[in-house]
């Protein structure tokens, strides 16, 4: 269908549209008009992605003189593929209606691991080894050598790509990663470098968060993007954590040992070069004297990860004299590693600001701030000079240089925390030195400044006023949309008591109470006997889950549960968890029924959908607060309070509730689906907690469901499941219109739209 939103003709590939999609588009359009940022919350399963794509591409088509570019950031490769598939559908529709004028180029970009088609390289087990494998075949000096000596292996795909030079372009169309690989195989061109090249010309680019937020990656990939771009962060409820992680480094003992090994290897190399090709080292020295930390135009295959600090914060100066010579630089690094070793030996937890830390390095190791700041670039230059290709071997020294550069660059918003052991396992020494960033707004600031519109969207962004403060920006539009439903297909409940009327909670002083553990067990036991197919349970942490499952096992509750449904448990091992998930799905499919025990903030809670019969009920045992004794969290809370005036309690509750909402949101992925959600903790009934849940859950949370005991919840569950099993009418009963056709939209084309719908 196509329709008008103000002056833009929107092409939408389906015959009907949900009212909330329409309002979403209207808001988005206003944000684009105002060239400002937007914060939009809409529940999953309402077609957020297609609404976004459809509006932004239509907007670009309506303004042919000044076409905007769309940078769409997803969290996972799977989501990337899904987005591109939707886009392809939309693109075909637009082509049918507009003809060749609607042609666009859209592609996904991912790491070499996902794009490489050279069988020898892609077979490596992790991302870093694939990168290194690629570099071994494509680095400029390797290729130069190969010209003289044909026995040196190179990558034929890259060679072909280079040979084709300016002819190597992608014709317009929508390319998923798979399409890119197929295209590359077809033409014999390297899909990774082709995609990297084409990103500058594409109308739509779908890639991962890191390509914009992590300065190391963003510096090389997203440097060239024009200002007239719309950046979309999808599923962005954890965007602050991504930002923080992008600027945080942790150093362990293994890192330091690895770094020492790297250093001695580099020393050997330097000696070798001195003996054979001293001119090269001298040339590097001269270049550094001239003030060029980076060589001018590197060939595309030699580019490295960029500086870990943000572009604005990088000094544009010459490298200081005392680290210009390779051997001097190495000795500086050696002293730094030595110093860090010393710091890790500590018996107590230590916390320091960057300024104090730099001062102490200066006095003890004789390395000043400026030298620290240039560590990364200097290392980069040295490794290029030494023609090192197996970069995966040198990750440790890179981590150290990351750390040094960040610590030298930033004085605010960071702290250095040294912990001699893990708080929860005090007898196992595992010292770790962490440089943790507390300010999410640092990493995302260049994005907000550089691009015209940034759209942050997710199913759970409540409370929506906190994100602008955390990320320090001013959205022109910030709204939360509810879901229009033909029937009440979600049934949230707050369970505060067990059958014996004792309150249940995972509060610290209550969680080990046998009464609470038993009541939680009874709750699950009763639920498995009335809920068909799949049930998902989320616990607050691995250790709590271990404890409670053990107790259930001892008291026989687990055995009784197993009579109704099979039990699967998420572990920290990814392979094991994947296997468990797979079997869980099979048990649901074949009618045996299954329960999945999982952990809030775990892999499963973030990325796995339990839609349809895979999740008819999700139980959230307790409120998933972060581990509040963690030093990093405490430091961050302190920073937030001082800088943004966000109270500790507020932030912790907000963070816990968004995790809880994220967990329970796993069960509903479309409107035809249905599911129940039980929040099993007495603290959920308090207003300050509850009100932070997203609107689409709150609007279904009836007062009568706020303070339930197990048996009442059971009764409600039984009724709900019966009601939902009845035949379902997609179009909606009269009075509640949930699917709009083209005529409907035309009818309400005037300004009264919103009033009519909400």
């Amino acid at each position: 269908m196509k329709f008008q939103i103000e002056d833009v003709t929107v092409y939408f590939p389906y015959d009907n549209i949900y009212p909330e999609q329409y309002s979403y588009m209207v808001e988005l359009k206003r944000a684009l008009d105002a060239k400002g940022h937007a914060l939009l919350e809409m529940p999953t399963g309402t077609g957020k992605t297609i609404a976004l794509l459809s509006l932004i591409t239509s907007y670009a088509l309506s303004k042919p003189s000044n076409p905007i570019k769309l940078l769409y950031c997803t969290r996972t490769v799977h989501e990337m593929e899904k987005t591109l598939a939707e886009l392809r559908l939309l693109h075909q529709y637009q082509l049918r209606h507009l003809g060749p004028a609607a042609r666009i180029l859209a592609l996904g970009l991912s790491s070499r691991k996902n794009l490489c088609i050279n069988p020898a390289v892609v077979s490596a087990e992790n991302r870093d080894s694939v990168d290194a494998g690629c570099r071994k075949l494509t680095a400029s000096w390797v290729r130069a050598l190969a010209v003289e000596n044909p026995n040196i292996p190179t990558c034929q795909f890259f060679e072909n790509y280079e040979k084709a030079a300016s002819e190597a372009v992608l014709p317009p169309g929508v390319y998923t990663l798979q399409d890119l690989r197929a295209f590359g195989r077809d033409k014999g061109w390297c899909p990774y470098f082709l995609a990297r090249h084409m990103v500058q010309f594409a109308n739509v680019v779908v890639y991962s968060y890191q390509y914009l937020l992590d300065p190391k990656v963003a510096g090389i990939i997203s440097k060239e993007m024009q200002r007239e771009s719309v950046v979309v962060f999808d599923e962005a409820h954890n965007i602050d954590n991504v930002c923080i992680e992008a600027l945080s480094v942790s150093v362990r003992r293994q890192t330091l040992e690895g770094a020492t090994r790297n250093l001695s290897k580099m020393a050997q190399e330097i000696n070798r070069f001195k003996a054979t090709d001293a001119g090269r080292l001298r040339a590097e020295y001269n270049r550094l004297v001239e003030g060029l930390a980076q060589r001018g135009n590197l060939p595309i295959s030699d580019t490295w990860l960029a500086n870990p600090a943000l572009p604005d914060d990088i000094l544009k100066e010459a490298v200081p004299g005392n680290i210009r010579r390779a051997e001097h630089f190495l000795s500086v690094l050696r002293r730094l590693v030595q110093y860090l070793h010393g710091r890790l030996e500590t018996e107590n937890v230590e916390k320091e600001g960057p300024v104090a830390f730099v001062a102490s390095i200066n006095s003890q190791a004789g390395i000043d701030q400026k030298m620290l700041k240039f560590c990364y670039d200097r290392l980069h230059s040295l490794m290029l000079t030494l023609e090192i290709t197996d970069t995966d071997e040198f990750l440790h020294i890179q981590t150290i240089c990351d750390f040094a550069t960040l610590v030298g660059t930033y004085t605010r918003g960071f702290s250095i925390i040294i912990e001699p052991f893990d708080e929860r396992m005090p007898h196992i020494p595992d010292p770790v030195l962490q440089l943790s960033c507390h300010d999410a707004s640092l990493a995302i600031k260049p994005v907000f400044e550089r691009f015209q519109s940034v759209v942050i969207t997710s199913g759970t962004l409540s409370p929506i006023d906190l994100y602008p403060r955390l990320l320090n920006f001013n959205p022109v539009v910030s709204r939360s949309f509810t879901m229009s439903l033909t029937r009440n297909c979600i049934c949230p409940m707050v369970l505060t008591r067990g059958s014996d009327q004792l309150p249940v909670s995972t509060k610290f002083d209550m969680r080990s109470d046998p009464g609470v553990v038993r009541n939680y067990g009874r709750l699950l036991l009763e639920m498995v006997s009335v809920v068909p197919d799949g049930i998902v349970c989320f616990f607050v942490s691995y250790s709590y889950m271990d404890g409670i499952v053990n107790t259930w096992n001892e008291s026989g509750i687990l055995k009784e549960i197993m009579q109704h449904k099979l039990v699967f448990i998420e572990t920290q091992d990814v392979v094991e968890t994947t296997l468990a998930l797979d079997n869980y799905r099979r048990a649901c499919d074949c009618g045996r029924g299954a329960v999945f025990f999982s952990v809030a903030r775990g892999k499963v809670a973030e990325g796995i959908d339990f839609d349809r019969h895979y999740g008819r009920l999700v139980i959230m045992f307790g409120v998933p607060f972060q581990y509040t004794l963690s030093r990093i969290l405490l430091a961050r809370l302190e920073y937030l309070r001082e800088t943004f005036q966000i109270k500790e309690g507020d932030f912790l509750t907000f963070d816990a509730l968004r995790q809880a909402a994220q967990c329970v949101g796993r069960v509903i992925r479309s409107k035809a689906d249905y599911g129940m959600m039980i929040f099993a903790d007495k603290r959920y009934s308090r207003h300050d907690k509850r009100s932070k849940l997203p609107g689409w859950i709150l609007s279904h949370l009836r007062d009568a469901h706020l303070n339930l005991s197990t048996d009442m919840a059971l009764h409600i569950a039984r009724e709900f499941l019966r009601k939902m099993a009845q035949p379902y009418d997609k179009a909606g009963v009269s009075g509640r219109k949930t699917l709009l056709s083209e005529e409907d939209l035309e009818k309400m084309g005037d300004g009264t739209t919103n009033e009519m719908l909400f």
Partner: protein, 454 residues
């Protein structure tokens, strides 16, 4: 008979009407943001007070819903008729139906939930009574060995009652068809009765076996039924109706394969669930072309069950025209002693003789035990016929036409001869006969033939 039929439909319509009212009520509740408490809802479901009405003198009388029911009924007839005539749906008249009754333990779960609830209510109001260590919960639980309380008095009793009604209704509507009973218990499927045409023997067998235990296994049941139905000749329509109470199935192998086999053998599997939607049941029904429904309460369950009585549309690729050999046996001379082939004992009088092998059978319709000939009587055939050619709906006659002086003679109903004073008359299109509401009803629902009245 007519009377009974009439009442039955009346009940059905009444319930549906109530159902709609309930829906609206629900919506209002949600609008106010307040729901009913759990205990209130149990009473609200029955709504016995709503069928009462105060008359002028202040007396309570049942509401006269007849006119509304009638209107609804006519709508249904009309839609039924239009769908059969326009689409020309082929229907399987000779059905071989296995009813699978799930008698697993879930059926018989104890009263403890109710008990828990009561105790918790008591404790809620009198916290002083809390005697956690004294409360002999286990003993109390075992004392109440009743069933799940959603169907009263127990699921098992309700299911049995309605299966009985269904079997009788089924044979009434499909005289040429046969039924067999299978139960699931302890993870095993058991054949209770073989395919047969006698309602009484099925009902008797079922009532004798009403006890439940163990897990439920859908696959075992399907395997068993598949084994039986695979031998049915190709003109017979193979159907399974599963009354599934459990929420899971414990299978020995891959149930998906079994489902595919059922699909290959053209067995139409339908499921009526008693508690909630289960994916595997839905999958089974989708694959084999059956219907899946879940009962809300007892009356809804009954309605769903009875929906399976009229023959379903035939599966397209399977509905080839076929000639079937049938015998129309004579009623044997009274007072003659002969050996009955179905009971294998000497009986006096009251039997039928197979026209081919002269064996004696007690009841029709059946299959001759000796020569395997299908034995029916002509009314059986005729009764099945109406599914293919339903009576066209009658037209409503306006009051003015009735008052037309030229047609004075027809102011009384053709059937019951009572004069038509209230509006709402219906006339048969072809012969221009006029009937009252009541008669319209009986003709369409019970006799299915206009000629039997005329």
């Amino acid at each position: 008979m007519n009377d009974m039929e009439h009442r039955k439909t009346n009940d059905g319509e009444g319930r549906r009407l109530d159902g709609e009212e309930e829906e609206e009520e629900e919506d209002e509740d949600e609008g106010n943001g307040r729901g009913l408490d759990a205990w209130e809802r149990a009473y609200a479901d029955e709504r016995s007070w709503e069928s009462l009405q105060e008359d002028e003198s202040g007396l309570l009388r049942p509401i006269d819903n007849k006119t509304i029911y009638h209107a609804q009924y006519r709508r249904r007839i009309r839609s039924l008729y239009s769908s059969t005539t326009t689409a020309r749906i082929q229907k399987g008249l000779i059905r071989y139906l296995y009813i699978v009754v799930d008698l697993s333990r879930v059926f018989d779960s104890s009263l403890k939930r109710l008990l828990n609830y009561r105790i918790s209510v008591i404790l809620f109001y009198f916290p002083g009574l809390w005697l956690r260590n004294y409360l002999p919960m286990e003993r109390l639980e075992s004392a109440f060995a009743a069933s799940e309380m959603d169907f009263k008095p127990s699921r098992m009793a309700v299911v049995a009652k309605h299966i009985e009604a269904f079997i009788r209704e089924f044979f009434d509507q499909n005289p040429l068809s046969q039924i067999g009973l299978v139960t699931i218990k302890d993870g095993l499927a058991q054949c209770l009765t073989d395919l047969g045409g006698s309602p009484d023997s099925h009902v008797k067998a079922l009532m004798g076996k009403l006890e439940c235990s163990g897990d439920s296994s859908l696959q075992n049941a399907l395997d068993l039924v598949h084994g039986y139905l695979n031998q049915i000749p190709s003109y017979g329509h193979r159907e399974v109706l599963i009354l599934y109470s459990a929420l899971s199935t414990c299978d020995p192998g891959d149930i998906m394969e079994t489902i595919q086999e059922c699909k290959k053998s053209k067995i139409r599997c339908s499921v009526i669930g008693l508690s909630a939607e289960i994916f595997i049941c839905r999958h089974l029904c989708q694959e084999t072309g059956g219907s899946y429904s879940v009962a809300l309460d007892e009356s809804h369950f009954k309605e769903l069950l009875l929906e399976h009585a009229p023959p379903p549309p035939a599966i397209a690729e399977f509905a080839i025209a076929n000639l079937i050999k049938m015998g129309f046996p004579q009623r044997a001379a009274e007072g003659v002693i002969s050996i009955c082939s179905c009971h294998k004992e000497a009986k006096v009088g009251g039997g039928y003789t197979c026209p081919r092998c002269k064996a004696r059978v007690c009841e029709l319709p059946t299959e001759c035990r000796i020569c395997g000939l299908t034995l029916v009587s002509s009314p059986h055939l005729a009764r099945s016929y109406h599914h293919l050619f339903p009576i066209p709906p009658f037209d409503e006659v306006s009051l003015s036409l009735l008052n037309n002086p030229h047609q004075r003679s027809s102011r009384a109903c053709f059937g019951c001869q009572e004069s038509l004073l209230i509006p709402g008359k219906y006339s048969d299109g072809k012969k221009m006969l006029i009937f009252c509401n009541e008669f319209d009803y009986s003709i369409s629902i019970a006799c299915h033939l206009i000629d039997c009245v005329v």
